[in-house]
């Protein structure tokens, strides 16, 4: 199979491209900077129609991961990368006659801030999605699924909180903050959350590329299917990294109000750095969000091969072997993906 993977410089994009290469697929990757993968590569902006058209030429399937994943920055940047980027990918698929598009989305597109317990993939809702990232991804997912047609099968896959060795986004930032004693538990720490070990998410995307066609026009949430209280997740990640776990507790209401204040300050001062907290993060860290995986597993014929326990063990060996996360210059926690 000839597959284009957009956004292969991120942890999940890289893992997915690698998984495809390992099973012998012909892979092309598209992102701004070289990914260093042993495969064809197109460099450029995913929202640039010409670039994407070139990359999509001759492909059987496209796995679209490229996105702006962040908690700050102007709306225009999110719209450009996430909304216009997705439109460019859809247009390129159509122009190049690509038959399958797996659009990688986020469960936050359907998360209005309240607890989600064992739900399936609810429809994306840009009006109620929290924060610019989620809103832009919600619009993008609706656009992508609207393009589902006899000529182009579209499947939206929403991996939830992907983590693993070498993760600069989630694990790296958590560990960095814990190391400096700035990792709080918001609320009781009891909120039950799903996470996804990176190899499982990559395998799910590969399975989605295969299933896309017979399965199409719907969104599927992907997770390990092993929800844990958020405090336990943070504690286990820290334990794996050999840093002390979260000690401080911040009441949810305080965190939410603080988040709102921080947002206002960042907005007013046009700061580009990641704020220490915002309302979206406060909600993500304090409310349950775990998912019914039955439809996903049946539709993709996929099951997570790496258990949470095994994932933590792999993370611990990676840290023990000296793997140091290239911690982002900006130290905030990433949003829900």
């Amino acid at each position: 199979m000839r597959v284009l993977v957009t956004g292969a410089s991120g942890m999940l994009g890289r893992a997915t491209a690698t998984a495809l290469l390992e099973r012998g697929d012909e892979v092309t990757v598209l992102q701004r900077r070289p990914a260093g993968l042993p495969c064809a590569e197109v460099l450029g902006d995913v929202a640039d129609p010409a670039v994407v058209r070139r990359a999509a030429h001759g492909q059987d399937a496209v796995l679209h991961l490229a996105a702006k994943v962040d908690v700050t920055g102007p709306w225009a940047e999110y719209r450009h990368a996430n909304v216009e980027g997705t439109r460019a990918v859809v247009a390129a698929c159509r122009a190049a006659g690509v038959g399958r598009l797996v659009h990688v989305s986020s469960p936050s597109v359907a998360h209005a801030g309240t607890a989600l317990a064992g739900v399936g993939a609810e429809p994306a809702d840009p009006r109620r999605a929290r924060g610019r990232y989620s809103r832009s991804k919600a619009i993008a997912e609706l656009d992508a699924l609207a393009a589902d047609s006899p000529g182009l099968a579209v499947l939206a896959v929403r991996p939830h909180l992907v983590w693993g060795p070498g993760d600069t986004q989630l694990v790296g930032r958590i560990v960095e903050r814990a190391r400096s004693g700035r990792l709080p538990v918001v609320g009781s720490g009891a909120a039950l959350v799903d996470t996804t070990y990176v190899d499982n998410a990559a395998a799910a995307l590969v399975a989605a590329a295969d299933a896309c066609g017979p399965v199409h026009g719907e969104a599927l949430v992907v997770s390990n299917g092993e929800p844990r209280p958020i405090a336990e997740v943070l504690g286990r990640l820290c334990r794996a990294a050999g840093v002390p776990g979260p000690r401080r507790r911040v009441p949810f209401a305080a965190a939410w109000v603080a988040g709102a204040a921080v947002e206002a300050v960042w907005e007013a001062t046009r700061r580009r750095s990641v704020p220490p907290l915002n309302r979206f993060l406060a909600e993500q860290l304090a409310t349950a969000h775990w998912f019914d995986q039955r439809r996903t597993r049946a539709a993709l014929g996929w099951r997570p091969a790496v258990s949470l326990e095994e994932g933590f063990a792999r993370l611990a060996s990676w840290y023990a072997a000296g793997g140091v996360s290239p911690v982002s210059r900006r130290g905030g926690l990433p949003p829900g993906r």
Partner: protein
């Protein structure tokens, strides 16, 4: 909107919740005068039906009321639900339509629709009497009648339904029913729980203007409150004639109906004695709305009409009666019943007292089959009364204080008690609960509180009155209530034959002879000594608060009768073990004579039985397993528990002689729908067949139907499995089964493994999340003094240990100070409540 006037064309209905527009049609029918009327009808249009349900609504609803029944129609059955003329989306009328005319109209309509038999009529509210009118005029086609919250007659001395009378008051009717939509809106406001706004709007949809409400007012005016009313004769004719209806009947009732109260139900049951009844606890007047499950019940009942009767289940021989031992020992002066610190009654005195009291009860109007509520504390009085009521052919109704006053009220009113025997406190409670029926004062209460008699009076009166004839062995003898731990307490009916079979099984299982005497600190067994033929003592303790029994109180009761047998709940025994240090040497000697200890009511941990060896050194510890509906089912001794070792659940031993146990395997969604099997290792709902299983649930037809859907077997609601040796292992309650994406998980095995961990005093395994996608959460009560009061996350060490021990994927481990337990036995963990709390906690914050 106006009703379309075309014939047989689909009707034009607005989009209404739950209503398939394809059911809607109109039919134009000429009445006897030749006048044509256009009816709006819901009709599922099944061609060549095996039968038809003809559903008649009342005032001011319309056929929308029956939408769920149309949707739930049994295979091959047609459902026809017309809007009465002037009502719903049927044609409006220029004037009132009297009852006789409405009955004739319905006949004209069914003729025009080509309805042939068999037909089952279904009526609600004033649709009840119209549907019965049709039924009487179509006996050849009639296969059965179903009635819900309706009336065919004003019971004697009744003023008519108060609310309707108010609506009928001069000057009120026109304003309330026609001039404003108050009556229409008020009717749907009666619903419990409240109806969704869109459903209320749907009920009001055909009645938007005063002109469209005209018949609503005329309908109220046609209710024959006064003897001179023009429709009175027609109504009385129907009310009398249905006494001759010999077709099956089903009554569905919402007990919270402020329009048609209990007396209307009693009146219907008296006219239709063959009727089966289901009372939907909590439901009000609009039963089809308040209890949507009624539709499935009707479908099931209809489908059962042509079912061949179930094969007979095992039956006791009925040779011994509940009072046989009393009669055999009528000349014996040994102690039959001892009150600790009070009277001791000999066998001869008790036998005489029971005979006299039975005669006195009969003389005072207690008839065979009458239900008698007993609100008397365990005592010699209570024991004598129970046997006298039985001997008189009446039925004892026992609802204990553990249910709380509200629960007792619901239970006793629902059981239709005709008489109340009460101590002073009991009679006061009966007054507070508003129980119907005559009052008889027990003990030293004296007359008062509405009591016309005392037990003493009746006994004296009975000395010169004839002893009633022995009741037939298959008549009812008792209504007992379940614990009500999960929803309203359920009434369980036993016949004399079944009760006698139970006693016979207990006697045989435990080798009880007339040389034994026992102490029963377990409510239903406290009164069974005389039937078992052994002397008994009731400890000086509230048997409905089992946690209050101390070791000295148990010892004093044992000393009072020289007891050889003790029967107590695990909660009581826990307290006994804890207070062993308070025993005097004499008390220890009394307990040293006990040869047998029985404990039931909840799983009994082996550790508890072992801890009692110090208190009851010579007692062989046994725990029978069973429930209000069937006890005992199995039995296991402490040695048996130890021999069985650890397994998935609690080993309760092998079925007793004459008892058959099967399981109905669970499907992935947690339903026990597999065919009954005794294959070892298969987990499912435990089903029991035996001569002493209850006869039926009381006034709960649909529940009884579901519980006895495997002919001859009772479904217990417990889940478990049989092992290769034929022993039963109980794994929890069916409604506590966790349905994960990976399959079902039963709680008890997980809990046992976790409870074996150091530092764990108790544990509950529950499911959180939607059915089928649940995750397992284990809630632990840590041992030791330092207990955190509020629910919290377990620390990493405990969480890891619990996950390693659980044997199933565990999403979260929580700690709490104590687990909620049922009120009755104070031993069964209320896992539903644990699950609710865990789900709330694990949802995190609420923005």
């Amino acid at each position: 909107m106006t009703a379309p006037d075309s014939t047989g064309e689909p009707g034009l209905l607005p989009d209404l919740p739950g209503l398939d527009p394809a059911w809607s049609r109109t039919v134009t029918v000429a009445d006897a005068t030749g006048a044509k009327h256009t009816w709006h009808v819901l009709d599922n249009g099944v061609p060549d039906p095996v039968g038809t349900l003809l559903c008649v609504h009342g005032n001011p609803t319309w056929s929308y009321l029956w939408r769920r029944l149309v949707a739930a129609a049994p295979p091959g059955w047609r459902v026809v639900a017309p809007d009465q003329l002037g009502m719903g989306f049927s044609e409006r009328l220029a004037g009132p339509r009297p009852l006789a005319q409405r009955i004739a109209d319905l006949g004209d309509l069914t003729a025009a629709l080509g309805l042939t038999g068999p037909v089952v009529t279904v009526g609600h509210d004033w649709g009840g009497v119209i549907s019965l009118g049709w039924a009487l005029a179509h006996r050849a086609e009639l296969r059965g009648v179903v009635l819900a919250n309706t009336a065919v007659a004003m019971p004697e001395g009744d003023w008519g339904p108060l609310l309707i009378r108010a609506a009928d008051a001069p000057g009120v009717r026109a304003a309330v029913t026609v001039g404003t939509p108050v009556f229409v809106r008020a009717t749907t406001a009666l619903s419990r729980p409240p109806l969704p706004a869109d459903v209320r709007r749907a009920f009001a949809a055909p009645y938007r203007t005063a002109a469209r409400r005209r018949s609503v007012g005329d309908f109220v005016a046609d209710i024959p409150f006064s003897p001179g009313h023009p429709s009175r004769a027609a109504q009385e004719a129907v009310a009398e004639a249905i006494r001759g209806l010999d077709v099956p009947a089903l009554l569905l009732w919402g007990p919270r109906d402020p329009v048609f109260g209990e007396r209307y139900l009693a009146d219907l049951r008296e006219r239709l004695p063959q009727a089966q009844l289901h009372r939907y606890a909590g439901a009000s007047h609009l039963l089809p709305e308040d209890a949507p499950q009624y539709a499935r019940a009707v479908a099931q009942w209809v489908a059962d009409l042509d079912r061949t009767p179930a094969p007979a289940r095992p039956a006791g021989d009925g040779g011994r009666r509940l009072w046989s031992a009393l009669e055999e020992r009528a000349a014996d002066d040994a102690v039959a019943v001892a009150e600790v610190g009070g009277a001791a009654v000999s066998w001869s005195a008790l036998a005489r007292r029971v005979r006299d009291l039975a005669a006195g009860l009969a003389a005072a109007g207690v008839r065979p089959g009458d239900r008698v509520a007993l609100l008397v504390e365990p005592s010699a009085d209570l024991t004598a009364t129970v046997y006298a009521v039985w001997r008189a052919g009446a039925v004892v109704v026992v609802a204990d204080k553990g249910l709380g006053l509200r629960g007792m009220r619901r239970a006793l009113r629902g059981a239709g008690v005709r008489h109340v025997v009460g101590s002073r406190a009991g009679l006061a409670a009966a007054r507070v609960m508003g129980l119907p029926g005559s009052r008889i004062a027990a003990g030293r209460a004296g007359v008062g509180l509405g009591a016309a008699h005392t037990l003493e009076d009746l006994e004296a009166r009975g000395r010169s009155a004839p002893v009633p004839a022995e009741p037939p062995v298959d008549d009812d003898c008792a209504v007992l209530f379940t614990s009500g731990a999960t929803g309203p307490a359920k009434g369980v009916v036993y016949t004399h034959r079944q009760a006698a079979a139970q006693l016979e099984l207990v006697r045989a299982t435990y080798g009880l002879t007339s040389g034994d005497r026992f102490v029963a600190a377990f409510a239903p067994f406290a009164i069974l000594g005389p039937a078992l033929g052994i002397g008994s003592a009731v400890p000086d303790v509230d048997v409905t608060a089992p946690g209050s029994l101390t070791a000295p109180a148990l010892a004093d009761a044992a000393a009072a009768v020289d007891a050889t047998v003790v029967f107590a709940s695990p909660a009581a025994l826990r307290r006994v073990a804890a207070t062993a240090g308070d025993l005097s040497a004499a008390q220890r000697t009394a307990l040293g004579r006990v040869r047998l200890l029985m404990s039931a009511g909840a799983p009994v941990p082996a550790a508890l039985l072992r801890s009692l060896r110090d208190v009851l050194p010579d007692a062989d510890a046994h725990t029978p397993y069973g429930m209000t509906e069937a006890l005992p089912v199995t039995d296991v001794s402490l040695a048996g528990i130890e021999a069985a070792g650890d397994g998935e659940g609690v080993c309760v031993g092998a079925p007793l002689p004459g008892v058959t146990v099967r399981v109905s395997p669970l499907s992935p969604d947690g339903a026990a729908d597999g065919p009954l099997t005794d294959a070892p290792g298969v987990t499912g709902e435990v089903c029991v067949s035996a001569a002493h299983v209850k006869d039926r649930y009381d006034a709960l037809w649909a529940l009884e139907r579901a519980a006895s859907r495997d002919p001859g077997f009772h479904r217990t609601g417990d889940v478990g499995h049989l092992d290769a040796e034929g022993r039963l292992w109980v794994e929890g309650r069916l409604q506590h089964v966790v349905t994960t994406a990976g399959g079902v998980v039963t709680p008890v095995g997980v809990e046992q493994r976790v409870e074996r961990l150091e530092g764990v005093a108790a544990a509950a395994a529950v499911g959180v999340g939607p059915a089928g996608a649940q995750v397992v959460v284990v809630v632990v009560v840590p041992s030791g003094r330092r207990r955190r009061r509020r629910t919290g996350l377990a620390d990493a060490g405990l969480a890891d240990a619990v996950r390693a021990a659980a044997g199933v994927e565990v999403a979260a481990v929580l700690t709490t100070a104590r687990l909620p337990v049922d009120v009755r036995h104070q031993s069964k963990v209320d896992r539903a409540e644990v699950a609710r709390r865990a789900a709330r906690f694990l949802a995190g914050a609420r923005p």
